[in-house]
Amino acid sequence: MITLFSVDWYLISIIFFIGLYCMLVSRNMFKQLLGLQIMSKACVLAIILCGAATNNVNLSQAIAITMILMEVIAVLAGLGLILKAWKITGCPDLVKLSKLKG
């Protein structure tokens, strides 16, 4: 049981850092959003895993479903925002947005 848990935890960390890497290296806003989503998926998996390991599946299930809902809302808001920025600047490049300076 314990060994399985550690293997799962290892895989979850890999997913988390794939998302973090995606957010750090890409300049495209859509890729950034994908990276953010991959990171939050790793968190959902972590919560389900922690609930299963402590025999508390009911609580973790409820949390996971609420989190999926929150993520959908965040994705919708983010996509709308990216489309707005794209319409204004003409490309989905994050670095092109640099009008605000002191």
Partner: protein, 474 residues
């Protein structure tokens, strides 16, 4: 009978829905938004100042004094922003959408301050982030879009860290309810795994508060946002989603006396770096709103420094500074919006001598600036004094000297603003500026009166806050 604070969440939410049906009638939308927020403000003030409640030390109210004072701050700033924007936003701009978002934001913030576990707090903080996102790009231009994109991509990773912390807490403690966690923290020294969870939570909330390594989003979001929205964000929204949660974590886990001293030291170090960085960067800014954003970062540094210390006196200072910062940053950002509307720019080199043309704006700004710098009779002085005294008492004399020194630096750069914007020779853009109508001056006058009164009646405020802190930390 126990009084619950849930109504403060539900009433603005239902008003936000009602306003969507008033598309044709902007006047009615104005009235609904202002009246529902003003009623809430009166109600919470009655709850706090009612002598019967004071005598029984708020035993009949389900939540503690900390939530009460935060709800008061939320309603105060939201009412001021709403009243200000009823004069500020032109008819053609879909006003009802703005009010709807503002009221939803108020509901989300009340949810944050009355929630009793970390997951609920996270949900409401996320809702608040999405509402703020929509409000930042309310104006259809490049500045707003840029601010909102930066806000989205630099604060949402914070939520991921919070969630990681929650999942580790679920594994190590089996719960994330505040009361259960408090009893675990009281029962003995904290385990390393719990400390890792607390560290993850702290990182997430520090990102949301805009503490120095993670501060880049905050400046662009404040500068790019539609002007009344910067007052809403700078006054209360980022403080509730970031600094409030940090103070709450410190209260629950009692970081200063358990083995988790390392987290407490890290918080204090980050707070000190934030104070220095914000104050020094603010001196170099040319734009008024950008400068206010940097000074807001620096003031949040004081809150994090004090909550990192974690003694009851320091936490009291942090809470009072949170409230004060809401009032004076609200005043300053609202005044920067008036200046932008009437003079057409917020560039400090193009503005001068607003003293003659906009006397009310000038003098309320000066009261707020002096309070932020910590001049004695005003409220900002007392909160900073309490923080410095708490630092001195615990032997952190270096940090105490640093806070005192950077109070002077803050004073210096506020003196620069006063000289450049409000006094001095006449400039081309200052000529055509005109004083705002009375509806837009009322909120700033109200806020500056509260700054003065909270300073004069500090002994009462102190006893109220001490009650709240001891009830929370026992």
């Amino acid at each position: 009978m126990m009084t619950s604070l849930l109504a403060y969440l539900l009433i603005p939410l239902s008003s936000a829905v009602i306003i969507q049906f008033l598309k044709k009638n902007d006047k009615l939308a104005d009235i609904v938004s202002n009246v529902s927020l003003f009623a809430g403000l009166l109600n919470i003030s009655y709850l706090i100042f009612n002598p019967q409640n004071v005598r029984f030390s708020f035993a009949s109210i389900a939540d503690n004094g900390f939530s009460l004072i935060m709800v008061l701050a939320i309603y105060l700033i939201a009412f001021c922003v709403s009243l200000f924007s009823s004069g500020f936003i032109p008819r053609t701009k879909n006003k009802h959408n703005f009010y709807s978002l503002l009221l939803t934001g108020v509901a989300a913030m009340c949810g944050v301050v009355i929630s009793l576990d970390f997951f609920t707090l996270y949900i409401y903080a996320e809702a608040l982030a999405i509402v703020s996102l929509a409000m930042i790009c309310y104006e259809d231009n490049e500045r707003g879009a840029e601010g909102a994109v930066k806000y989205f991509f630099l604060t949402l990773p914070g939520s991921v860290f919070i969630l990681t912390g929650i999942s580790i807490l679920l594994f190590t403690a089996g719960t994330f309810n505040f009361l259960n966690l408090q009893s675990i923290a009281n029962s003995g020294p904290m385990s390393t795994a719990n400390m890792v969870a607390v560290a993850f939570l702290c990182i997430g909330f520090l990102i949301k508060a805009g503490i120095v390594p993670f501060h880049t989003w905050l400046i662009d979001a404040y500068q790019g946002a539609y002007s009344p929205v910067s007052a809403f964000l700078g006054g209360i929204a980022t403080k509730v989603s970031g600094a409030y949660a940090i103070i709450k974590i410190v209260m629950i886990f009692k970081l200063f006396e358990s083995t988790a001293g390392r987290i407490s030291e890290a918080l204090m170090l980050l707070g000190a770096i934030t104070i220095i960085w914000g104050a020094i960067a603010a001196i170099r800014q040319k734009n008024f709103k950008r400068m206010l954003a940097f000074s807001s970062i620096s003031q949040t540094g004081y809150i994090v420094l004090a909550s990192g210390l974690g003694t009851p006196l320091a936490v009291l200072g942090a809470i009072f500074h949170l409230f004060n910062q809401a009032t004076f940053k609200g005043t300053l950002f609202l005044n920067s919006a008036s200046i932008e509307k009437s003079a057409g720019t917020t560039n400090m080199h193009k503005l001068a001598n607003l003293e003659n043309s906009m006397p009310w704006t000038t003098w309320t700004s000066i009261i707020a600036l002096l309070a932020a710098a910590g001049l004695p009779p005003l409220s900002g002085f007392w909160s900073k004094l309490v923080i410095v005294l708490a630092l001195w008492e615990e032997g952190a004399k270096g940090y105490a000297f640093l806070s005192l020194f950077f109070m002077l630096v803050t004073f210096a750069h506020f003196a620069i603003i006063q000289k450049k914007i409000f006094f001095g020779k006449k400039a081309a853009d200052g000529e055509k500026s005109r004083e705002m109508p009375v509806f837009m001056l009322l909120p700033v006058v109200l806020l500056s009166m509260i700054i003065i009164l909270a300073g004069i009646f500090f002994p009462h405020v102190y006893s109220f806050l001490m009650q709240a802190v001891t009830r929370n930390m026992l």
